[in-house]
Assembly symmetry: C2
Homo-oligomer: 339 residues x 2
């Protein structure tokens, strides 16, 4: 796959991801992932005045949904591939490292040197080689492409890859099936959005299976590039020099493959502050008993601050990851829950 | 039901709990509980050298398994009952409060005044009246029986009640089905043990569905009354003046109904310290992304400290609850993970 797809390639690749490819991904990765639960708290529901279902993808192996897309990509590879390379702030890193190990491949992961220590430790623990870079002055895409060229390793991009998007889409299939089992009619789904791979894949599956569902992105302050792009109709960029604790989703702009999908399937978006994320983490600790990281808390933070489609009475928030260091978690507990 | 069953009553009640009554309980409570996931961490498995599956019952509504037994008891009641009463350190309290509210009944809960603040707050939040008592100088059984006599409320005991034990037993049905779906052959199950209701019900279901499974209790230091009772063959008591952070499972002795069951179905037990529990909480934070309380961490702590049946390669630890205050969780994070 070329480093920058042409517009024609992009349209083809985006259109190639369908319910059928997502179902194929689900079969391919079934033995490598767990079906994460859709949890709720009656007390929190009472306080919010809606039924809030949380897709606890933080419980996924490697601590985030990223294992789904990484596993679908790795297990779609030709048998001749021996090495893979990826660039990631930490969750895709661990997903690719674990997926590669499950197939006996060697992984090299390019990570920002200011990634949470636990994410770097985790990536190494899954057997990958880690190359650190400065995310303010260096391009991870260039470093990843260089390593791929030198080592003949196959590059697995974090979101602009149809196999990865289809893998993440399995979250949407599960949400639809789990809600049906609870006899819950979902009005809206909120999902965090960095490059947009999770929300794109999830939206393809969910909008196919849940007629009329409204899907919103949830992004950190300063990194609301997808919402601004949805509003303007064209890809907008974020100023990556702005600070955010939501390390998992601070990407410079929407993806070339993901944005056309999200433009078609999303109806709006929420923007949350660092404080909103911390309070969401503390609320999840108190009421839901799950550990979530700042970026993984974005959708929950949006719902807790009243940012969801008007009139929705049953809302899903995807809690995408739980790879948070002790210091940040303690900061969230000190901030305290919103409810 | 009399306050103290006669030996004849006890044998009959214990024998009345079968796979069929547990399956009936599962149907009765299905709409009031969630099926909690059986989660694992590949990294933790690598470190332990066994496959450890954790039944994350902390994710249950009200934050513990107690909702299962409470719901089975409440929804088994005659239509004429309007009030229920229970005594509990906090998890059965919240379970009964929530179950009563779901059927429109008024609940009065007798709680030790040194219960974690969050448990008292939660019990009130579910609409129950709370009566506090001193667990070192007063008998909760007597207070509960007095209230029951005065208000005509129906007493729902925390473990010496066949309906409650059958409700908790649904955890065992789920473990067996979920392990089968993962193609995992379970060698052993570790489960925390206070009065023994959860482990008794779970053991009836699990030993029926998983041939050859070994089941061990996990108890806090000083409160290993079930293990000592199993060893001696007779009910032994604990010194309730000893300190323990495992508030959910510091009971004075095994139950009259639960012990005959546990004596028949358990093959051993583990004893864990406060420090083991804190390290297990931190390990669950790091690797499993769940929030567990000290008592709910006992089984995990046992496995992490190598206390499980020799030769077992696939082990389940039941994480029974997650109702922990912020201060205690911070203490666990400061203690740090064992792996």
């Amino acid at each position: 796959m070329p480093a920058t797809p042409t517009p024609h390639d992009t349209v083809n690749a985006a259109q190639s991801i369908t319910r059928a490819t997502i179902e194929a991904a689900a079969s391919r990765i079934a033995l490598h992932i767990i079906e994460t639960p859709l949890i709720e708290s009656p007390r929190l529901n009472d306080k919010l005045g809606i039924r809030l279902l949380v897709k606890a993808e933080c419980l996924q192996h490697t601590g985030s949904f990223k294992l789904r897309g990484a596993s679908n990509a790795v297990w779609s590879l030709d048998d001749k591939v021996t090495d893979v390379v990826a660039f990631s702030s930490g969750n895709h890193a661990q997903g690719v490292a674990r997926a590669a190990a499950s197939r006996g491949l060697q992984a090299t992961i390019v990570m920002p040197k200011d990634s949470p220590a636990g994410k770097i430790e985790g990536t190494k623990a899954y057997g990958a080689s880690v190359v650190l870079y400065d995310r303010y002055t260096e391009s991870r895409e260039e470093i990843g492409a260089d390593i791929a060229a030198k080592t003949k390793a196959h590059l697995i991009k974090p979101y602009d890859d149809a196999r990865v998007i289809a893998g993440q889409g399995t979250v949407g299939l599960e949400i639809a099936a789990q809600a049906a089992a609870k006899q819950a009619k979902i009005d809206a789904i909120l999902c965090c959005c960095g490059g947009g791979g999770l929300i794109a894949g999830m939206s393809i599956a969910a909008s196919d299976q849940i007629p009329g569902v409204k899907i919103w992105s949830a992004e950190p302050e300063f990194y609301d590039d997808t919402l601004r792009s949805l509003t303007s109709g064209e890809i907008q960029t974020a100023d990556i020099n702005q600070p955010s604790i939501c390390d998992a989703i601070v990407t410079p702009q929407p993806g070339q493959l993901t944005f056309p999908i999200n433009k078609q399937l999303l109806s709006g978006g929420a923007v949350i502050t660092d404080r909103d994320a911390l309070q969401a983490i503390a609320t999840a600790f108190k009421h839901l008993k799950i550990v979530i990281e700042p970026g993984g808390a974005a959708a929950l933070a949006a719902v807790l601050t009243g940012q969801y489609p008007q009139g929705a009475s049953t809302v899903v928030a995807v809690a995408s990851g739980g790879n948070i260091d002790k210091q940040m978690f303690q900061r969230a507990l000190d901030e305290g829950p919103l409810f």
